[in-house]
Structure formats: C-alpha cells, structure tokens
C-alpha cells in the first residue's frame, strides 16, 4: 500500500475528529500517535513487524517488553529518528520522519542522553531557540526540584543526574508529545516520584501526551493510563490499565482445613492462579472484589485479605489467555 493510499484510508475512517481534551474519555480523544502497519528492519533483522496502534492525546502510555522487543525502535520512529521500512508513523495526522512541523511538538529523551554543550545554561538556550513552547518559568522550577546547577559541568555528572538534566530540558520545552526511553533508569526513589508528579501535572494542565518505554512493569503500574506490550517486534496488545484490572482479584486466605483449587472453583470462583504455602493460600481469580468476598466468606475463612493487583500479575493473566509463555516475555 502506498503512502498516499494509507493516508486516504485513514482519512476515510475519520476516527476521533474532536480536539484533544482531558475531559473526554480516552477513547474519544484525538489520536496523537498512529502507527499504521509499521515495520522496521535492520538488514535481515525485524525490529518491528506490522505494528498497528493509536495513542490518545493527554495520556500516559507505557510501552513494555523484554530486551530486543522493539520498544526503543518504536520510540525512535515516533521521534522521527528512523524512517519506517514499511507502513507509516503519524503524529496528529502528519508523517513524523524528516518533518519539522511534526517534530517541533515532540521531544525524545533517549536511553543515553546527549548534551551538545557542557552545561544546562547553554543547553537551555539551545532548546529555547528550537522549541517555540519553551517555558522559562517551568525550567526554573524544574532546576529547583532536580538539583542541578545551571553552570554545573554535565559531563562530570552521574548517570542519574544526566537523566535528570535531560528530563529538565525535555519537560521545560513543553512538548505536546514526550517520548522517554527507560525514563526512570538511574533515578533514585525520590526523584522518580518527583518525575511522576511533574509528568502527571503536565498531562493534566497542558494536555501533554507521554510515551514511556520500560522493562520495569512496577514503575509503570501506578502511573500509566494505557499499556502496550511489544514482543519480538509485534504489538501483542494495547489496553487501558483500569480495564485490565477490572474483573480481576487477588486474595490471601486461610482455612481450618486444607482447601484445594477445585473446591474453590466449585464454590463459584474462576481461579486463574492458585498457590498454597502451608495453610496460607494465594489466589488470582477472574471475579470482582465483591464477588470474591461473598463467595469466600461463605466458606468461613480464618483469614481473608484482598490484595492489590500488580501490573505484572495482570499481564501474566492477559498473556496466558493469549497462550504466550509469560516468563519469556517478561524476563
């Protein structure tokens, strides 16, 4: 399919014509990023293979996958660094590659940040001259939160401080689309929280869309609206995080007598995972929390503790439904 034909087909769909606004449900927001049959090969190696997805505006999208899954390649395609081998990558309807009109709204924080100049003062001047939406007040606020001196030599900073400097510049440029590869890599817990808070504020106040690629599911689970799982260059699924969690429950229970998974199933629970350690049983079931409590209370447990679900557990469930070997995917 030629580029022109792709554009015509996408135009005929005319999905989500409305302007992006965070008051709208995510499904109804404008698609900021659209990957259409996107493929990228490096010689004979397939990094991405016919990926189709749309990422809504004013949201935080987590892209997860194991090493070599294609996360960084996807981000580089979204940033316009790579030209797609096949298919297209659109930002608000425009091809990204070699297109400054699209790229002036996009800032990419790579896994290895690069600084053209040796201090933040000069780097901020560089960004200010390139990005029209640069916010000097926000920049001043950020250098107070992330304690890096404007005149401090950047090449002498640690890995975490490097990352902080790159994030200061990226956020202060006020991009409409922020792309981050391993955003939390090297940051200490306090700075991670600071970063999450700032990003959430920018999304809420400025309608910024954030796309984060990470191997660490736990980093993303309390933070993202949507998650997508890449594996061997293919996008296995994209789902809203709350929807993923909906209908799944996890509990720790203990009974006077030994109880088997079969007994719980016959009581009406849809057991996805069952593990017993002594008298303590941990279950993952496809029931709502209320259903779980009602059924288990009827069995007079000694202990019933409903636990929060981790993103990893949700993924294990979702992927096992799709018959994937989970340990391989999330290694």
């Amino acid at each position: 399919m030629t580029n022109k034909e792709t554009v015509e087909r996408l135009n005929s769909d005319r999905v989500n014509e409305s302007t992006a606004t965070i008051n709208l449900p995510v499904e109804e927001r404008e698609a900021v990023i659209v990957a259409d049959n996107l493929s990228k090969y490096f010689g004979a190696t397939k990094a991405l293979d016919k990926v189709n997805c749309r990422i809504a505006g004013a949201s935080i999208f987590g892209l997860i996958g194991s090493n070599g899954a294609g996360k960084s390649t996807f981000l580089r395609l979204a940033a316009g660094v790579y030209r797609p081998t096949e298919g297209s990558m659109f930002y608000r309807g425009q091809v990204v590659f070699d297109n400054p009109c699209a790229k002036k709204d996009i800032v990419f924080v790579a896994d290895q940040p690069y600084f053209h100049f040796d201090n933040l003062k000069k780097m901020s001047a560089l960004y200010r001259s390139l990005y029209e939406r640069w916010d000097q007040e926000l920049y001043q606020e950020l250098i107070r939160i992330f304690p890096i001196g404007e005149d401090q030599r950047l090449d002498l900073l640690s890995k975490g401080m490097h990352r902080q400097a790159a994030l200061i510049l990226a956020i202060a440029a006020k991009p409409r689309l922020l792309l981050m590869d391993e955003a939390f890599d090297g940051l200490d817990p306090v700075m991670r929280q600071n970063l999450k808070r700032i990003l959430a504020r920018q999304v809420a106040d400025d309608g910024m869309t954030t796309l984060i690629a990470s191997q660490n599911l736990r980093e993303l689970e309390d933070f993202c609206d949507h998650v997508g799982l890449l594996h061997e260059g293919g996008l296995l699924f994209v789902e809203e995080l709350d929807k993923l969690r909906l209908g799944l429950s996890k509990a720790q229970i203990a009974f006077r007598e030994d109880v088997t998974a079969e007994q719980l199933k016959s009581a009406g629970l849809e057991i996805l995972r069952f593990s017993a350690r002594g008298s303590l049983i941990e279950i993952l079931s496809r029931n709502t929390e209320a259903e779980l409590r009602t059924i288990l209370n009827q069995m007079n447990p000694l202990l019933l503790d409903v636990l929060p679900l981790t993103l990893e557990e949700v993924f294990i469930y979702e992927l096992s439904r799709k018959s994937y070997v989970v340990s391989e995917l999330l290694a």
């Binding site: 659209v34 004979a44 316009g80 309807g93 790579a110």
Partner: protein
C-alpha cells in the same frame, strides 16, 4: 483529525525564531571556531610569515628558480590570460605544495569534526529528533565547512598580498591571486568530494581512510597507465585520465599551479560533488551511525576500484621484472607475469580494503548468511576477478584512446 501526506519539509515558517538551516550553520560554525583559528595560524605560518622570515631576496630567488625552460616545456610557466602574461607560478610555487597539503588536512579535520555526530547513536538520536530536516543538517554542515575554509584562505591571501605589494612585486600580484583562487576552488571541490564520504560511511575512521585510499590509488593508477615522468604531466591527457583525476580531487589540486583551466570546470566539479554529497546524505539512514562501512551495500560498488588499483600496480610491477617481455614484443596484457600480478594484486587490494573497512571474512551463523553458499573469502576472490576484468577493459581503453 485529517491525515495528510507530508508536504511541508520545514522550509520557511517552521521555526519562527530562526530558519533551521541558519540555526544549524551558526551552531556548526561556532563549534568550528577553534579549528578555524588553528588552520588560520598554520596557513599564515606557511605563507606570509614564511615570506617575512625568508625575506624579499630569497623569496624572489626561490620563485625565479622555477622559471626555467625545462618547466616551460612541461607547461608549467607563463600562461597568457586576456593577452597578459601571468607569471603566477613563479610567485606561488614556493608555497603551493604545502598550501595544498594543508588545505586537504583542513578539509578532513574540520569536516571530520562537523560530521562526527553522525557516527554515534546518542548524537544521532539527539540531532534527528530535533525539529530540523536532514537536508538542513547537511547543508548547514557543508556551508559551515566551506565558510570555515574560505575564512582561512581569505585571511591568508590578504596578509600574503599585502607583503607582495609592500615588497614591490606588483607585476606578479594578479597572477598570484589567480592561481590562489584556483587552488581555493580546487580545495572546495575536494570538500564536496569528502562530503560524499562523510555522508556515506558509518565511522569517521572509514571516511578519512577511504578518502585517502582513493586518493592514493587514483594517481598511482594514472602514473602506471600513462607512464609519465611525473604526475603533473598535462600533455598526455586522455578522456580516461581526466575521468580518473575526478576521483582524486585533492591530488588534482597539486596540478593547479600548472593548469590553465576554465573557471567553469571548477563550478561544474563543485556543483557535482556537493549535489552528490547531498543526495548521499538524504539517503543515509540514522542506523548507519557506528556501522562498519565494509558491511554496507554501497561499499561493494567502490571496492572493485581497489581491486583494479591493486591489479594495475602489481601487474605492472610483475611485468617490470619480466625482462623477456621486451624481446618478444608481446603486448603487456597477454604476458603471464602481468596476468599473475594483476590477479594477485586485485585480490590483495580487495583484502586490504575489506580489512580496513571492517568487512568480515568469516561465516556469520545467521539466517541471512546461511542462504549464501559461497564462503566470504571465495566471494572476495570473485569480486577481485571482476576487478581484473575491469582492469583489462581500462587498459585496453587507455591504449585505444
């Protein structure tokens, strides 16, 4: 939202504060200022400062030393321009070789400094994600390189001309400026040639080494093919020779002192290399950064050149030691010594260029190479045989022309 085909490539209005091209040019020129200062000093050292150290009398003697019938016979002395005899080579000759060498070094060093970011992944990520086009990056860099070199040449000629004028050698000044301008234009043509390599390769090392290798191979081929007494011989020029000289613009610059070329020649050469360099830059994908040039597909097409050069050099070397060939009056191309030398030389040329550019000669156990039944070394043999075939064709054509 309406999807559209990209039509605006950022020209005009994309960046309200400053045009992308001028932004890049300004940045690159600022990054280059230290190197510009260094080369400015070196140029001043080898021309005006050297003149002052030598003094008027020694300089004049050096200049006149070459104004002898021997050189005139080889086309190296007086050239008439608009009916006026220009004895520019007399004045410029003491400095010509060193200025040309310094120009070539300046182009490679300053160009290497400007294009170095293309060869590292983190800098490519940074630069190519900025709201600027590939075209702007290339043109900004090329412009900065040309302006940097021009500044060096300009300051140098102002100082040198001042000294020549003060010394009362006004009659040679016009000719002096003319050959200086031609040398400058030739250096700009070499800049364009180098831009092609800077845009094509994956490593800075490859850009410089390949450039030098081609510059070594081309004149050697010419030297052997035409058997002149020296490279500057302009009387035995054939179309084929002229064509080969195009692939050694830095060496060609050494001949400026003796060439009476039309300015159109320089314009065509400069435009050709810059447009070709721009074309290569546009085709260059981001993922080439850090890759060994030997593994790139385009390298195969120029690698035959090294086979041909190796074949010509070794073939002629072997032939020179075959003393019976002179008695038999047999054509060189049919002599066993030449054939053996050509084949061995072609293979050696192929192997050396492969080793330098990091082309692997081992079987790589991947899905792709498993389909290739030939062993890489055998593959090299076949390519070098192609080089021998081209060599014979070139030799035959050169004999016919």
């Amino acid at each position: 939202m309406t999807f559209q085909i990209q039509t605006d490539r950022g020209k005009g209005g994309t960046l309200r504060r400053k045009s992308g091209l001028w932004w890049i040019f300004g940045r690159q020129l600022a990054d280059l200022r230290s190197l510009i200062a260094i080369f400015m000093f070196l140029f001043l050292l080898v021309m005006p400062i050297a003149m002052l150290i030598l003094g008027r009398d020694i300089f004049t003697e050096l200049a006149n030393r070459h104004n002898v019938p021997y050189h005139e016979a080889d086309g190296m002395t007086v050239v008439y321009y608009l009916g006026i005899p220009l004895r520019f080579n007399r004045a410029f000759f003491p400095f010509h070789l060193i200025v040309v060498t310094l120009s070539s070094v300046a182009v490679l060093v300053m160009g290497g400094s400007l294009f170095r970011p293309l060869y590292r992944r983190e800098t490519v990520d940074f630069e190519w994600s900025l709201p600027l086009t590939k075209s702007q990056w290339f043109l900004g860099r090329a412009l900065a390189l040309v302006v940097g070199l021009s500044l060096v040449y300009l300051v140098n000629i102002i100082a040198t001309s001042g000294i020549v004028y003060v010394w009362g050698l006004k009659e040679i000044l016009g000719g002096y400026l003319l050959v200086y301008l031609k040398t400058y234009l030739s250096a700009i043509a070499f800049t364009g040639f180098s831009l092609v390599f800077f845009s094509l390769v994956g490593r800075l090392f490859d850009a410089i080494v390949l450039n030098i290798m081609i510059h070594l191979a081309s004149p050697l081929m010419l030297l052997i093919m035409s058997n002149p007494y020296y490279i500057g011989d302009i009387r035995k020029q054939s179309s084929l020779h002229k064509l080969v000289w195009l692939f050694a613009p830095a060496f060609d610059t050494y001949r400026e002192i003796a060439m009476d070329r039309n300015f159109l020649y320089y314009v065509i050469l400069i435009v050709f290399w810059f447009v070709f360099g721009w074309f290569c830059a546009m085709k260059r994908p981001a993922e080439w950064g850090g890759r060994k040039s030997g593994s790139m597909r385009w390298f195969r097409s120029i690698q035959t050149f090294f086979s041909v050069a190796g074949g010509i050099i070794a073939g002629n070397l072997f032939y020179a030691f075959d003393f019976t060939s002179f008695q038999l009056h047999q054509t060189k191309l049919l002599r066993p010594a030449f054939i053996i030398g050509a084949i061995l030389g072609a293979f050696l040329g192929q192997l050396i260029s492969s080793a330098i550019t990091g082309k692997t000669l081992q079987r790589v156990p991947s899905e792709r190479t498993a389909k290739r039944r030939l062993h890489p070394v055998l593959y090299e043999w076949l390519w070098s045989l192609l080089g021998v075939v081209i060599l014979y064709a070139v030799e035959l054509v050169s004999q016919v022309i």
